[in-house]
């Protein structure tokens, strides 16, 4: 059963505006960032207008209220992914979350947190479909520590090629960092299965859930991962807030990343000792209003129901794939054909560059993303310089998809491509 999109759309003020000379906005770029429901904007505003003060830093009433609002947001996020409160760290973005873990690993070499020590004898494993955010921090970690970066190749269909996984995850592997859902291909990776392999070899497992947590129900304990990251802005929440989930016993041992106020235990001029997680990883006055906004976004998503969201997107994406495949010269990049996949579809058209296609679609009021989608190595793997990508969310309707299909046809006509 499809969602009542017309009703949902009313909750998102931006759809009241038009683009390109009065055309209704057809927003198919939620994979880059999502739109925000009124509820989220109201929650942020309410924080500023009623409870704004520095959390964890004051004994006055506002500070108490701000602390409560912030910590309640943490609980809300924790419950949403099946974690405990002290396993949730607020960051500014998934990008920061991944960097936090990567830097904590190299920082551990200056502490006695042996579990995290990493050096030239170690390997870090990623995949060829990673977003730059889950690739470059590991390249840099390798540079800092001498560890070796390896990667899981892809099949032509756009899945992880796990045929040699036993030789890729070895006893030298320190960290495996994989995306849960590709932001380009729509592939959903078999995380729980891989987790078993990773842990059998004694490695750590970080999952980039930027494209899964917003679109399906995710349970960190069921996935059995050590770290999981996502961004608020891709799941109806504000910009400027991300999450790092970390298994409690790991966070308890892991050295800090950003240092400063509120993450300390005792401070002397020469040295300092650090608070326990999550405080240890949240230096400075936190992004309180954004955390509160994210909690409101989760409330909204829960009201709609994550299973409903997922089902709805599957409906849309399959409709899109059917329509696109009916157009000659269209090539879908990623797996398709009656399979479990996410609501992202990437494609190319012979003789029309994605940027030009995107431009014509934009002129029709249809917002898609074009280019390498921060997954440049993935583009090389498929021998292309970029794709056009449509990503769906709960506020998209079947008629949005139809507009996309019609838009692609119109573009071909515009550029006189048969």
């Amino acid at each position: 059963m499809a969602l009542d999109v017309a009703r949902l759309k009313n909750d998102f003020p931006i759809f009241a505006r038009t683009v390109r000379d009065g055309k209704p906005l057809i927003y198919l770029d939620s994979g880059a960032t999502s739109q925000k429901p009124r509820l989220v904007l109201d929650a942020e505003r309410n924080f500023y207008e009623q409870h704004n003060a520095a959390a964890h830093r004051g004994a006055h009433q506002l500070a108490e209220e701000a602390t409560e609002a912030y910590e309640d947001a943490r609980s809300k996020v924790a419950k949403f992914i099946g974690a405990a409160d002290n396993e949730i760290i607020f960051t500014k973005s998934a990008t920061e979350s991944i960097n936090l873990v990567a830097y904590a690993l190299s920082n551990s070499n200056f502490t006695d947190a042996k579990r995290f020590h990493i050096g030239p004898e170690h390997e870090i494993l990623v995949s060829e479909m990673e977003h730059h955010a889950n690739l470059i921090p590991w390249q840099e970690l390798a540079k800092r520590t001498g560890a070796k970066l390896r990667w899981i190749p892809l099949t032509d269909e756009g899945r992880l090629d796990l045929s040699n996984i036993d030789s890729l995850i070895t006893s030298s592997t320190k960290m495996v960092a994989l995306t849960h859902q590709s932001n380009v291909l729509g592939t959903i990776n078999p995380i729980a299965g891989i987790a078993k392999l990773v842990h059998d070899r004694g490695a750590l497992f970080l999952v980039d859930a930027c494209q899964s947590v917003p679109h399906q129900s995710v349970d960190v304990k069921a996935l059995d991962v050590d770290f999981l990251v996502f961004s608020g802005h891709k799941m109806l929440g504000p910009t400027g807030v991300g999450v790092l989930y970390g298994r409690a016993e790991l966070l308890d041992e892991m050295p800090p990343f950003l240092t400063g106020g509120s993450m300390i235990e005792e401070v002397h001029m020469e040295s300092a000792t650090y608070a326990r997680a999550p405080q240890r990883f949240e230096a400075g006055v936190p992004n309180m209003a954004q955390a509160v906004g994210l909690a409101a976004a989760i409330e909204y998503l829960e009201r709609v129901g994550m299973d409903q969201v997922q089902e709805h997107e599957e409906l849309l994406v399959n409709h899109a794939i059917d329509g696109l495949l009916g157009i000659s010269k269209v090539r879908i990049i990623g797996p398709f054909g009656g399979i479990h996949r996410s609501g992202a579809v990437s494609f190319t058209i012979d003789d029309i560059h994605p940027h030009d296609l995107g431009q014509v679609l934009d002129d029709l009021g249809i917002a898609v993303r074009v280019g390498h989608h921060c997954a440049w190595p993935l583009m090389r793997r498929f021998g292309i310089s970029g794709t056009t990508r449509a990503t769906f969310y709960l506020y998209n309707s079947i008629s949005d998809v139809d507009a996309l299909i019609a838009g692609v046809e119109a573009t071909k006509k515009f550029f006189k491509v048969a």
Binding site: H56, R57, G58, A59, A63, E64, T67, E68, E71, N86, S262, I264, E265, E266, T273, A275, R276, Q279
Partner: protein
């Protein structure tokens, strides 16, 4: 008025004339706890005579709530068994985290009931728990290390946030 409820006479009395204050020898363990948000500190010493807490003494720097609460605690648990401490401590923690809805057990908490008002001020709960957490931590360490005979002097973090 909440403020009068917070600062009951008993509290101010213990603040001015604290019990068991001033560090003494001998002791089996010394722990040092801080409240990282405000810098309050407590150093606590004790011995375990079988199951019984003895030689309790402390020194500290902090607000009336943290100092008085430590003082009250020492009067309650000195010469008591570890199990008795657990019961008292659980009762005090429940009171602190009860948001003002928990009725304190006077039988168990005695002067400790004076801290009922703290529960309404989340930022002060940590103050009231500073000494309690220090003692709890000291006992855990002491019991853990019963095999070794060396004196333990340790600086450990304030765990009271976990109790939130």
């Amino acid at each position: 008025m909440d403020l009068q409820a917070l600062y009951q006479e008993i509290i101010l009395d213990h603040y001015k004339r604290p019990s068991h204050r001033g560090l003494h020898e001998p002791f089996d363990i010394e722990v040092h706890h801080v409240n990282p948000t405000c810098g309050d500190e407590i150093t606590l010493r004790l011995s375990l005579d079988g199951e019984r807490i003895t030689n309790l003494s402390w020194e500290g720097m902090g607000c009336s709530i943290s100092q008085a609460s430590t003082s009250v605690m020492t009067t309650l648990v000195d010469a008591k068994t570890v199990d008795e401490f657990s019961i008292t401590s659980d009762s005090f923690l429940a009171l602190m985290h009860g948001k003002g809805t928990v009725v304190p057990d006077e039988e168990i908490l005695e002067d400790g009931v004076a801290f009922s008002g703290v529960a309404k001020y989340p930022a002060r709960i940590k103050c009231a728990l500073l000494g309690w957490m220090a003692l709890k931590d000291a006992l855990v360490q002491l019991i853990d290390s019963k095999s070794t005979d060396a004196k333990i002097i340790s600086i450990v973090p304030d765990r009271s946030r976990d109790e939130r």
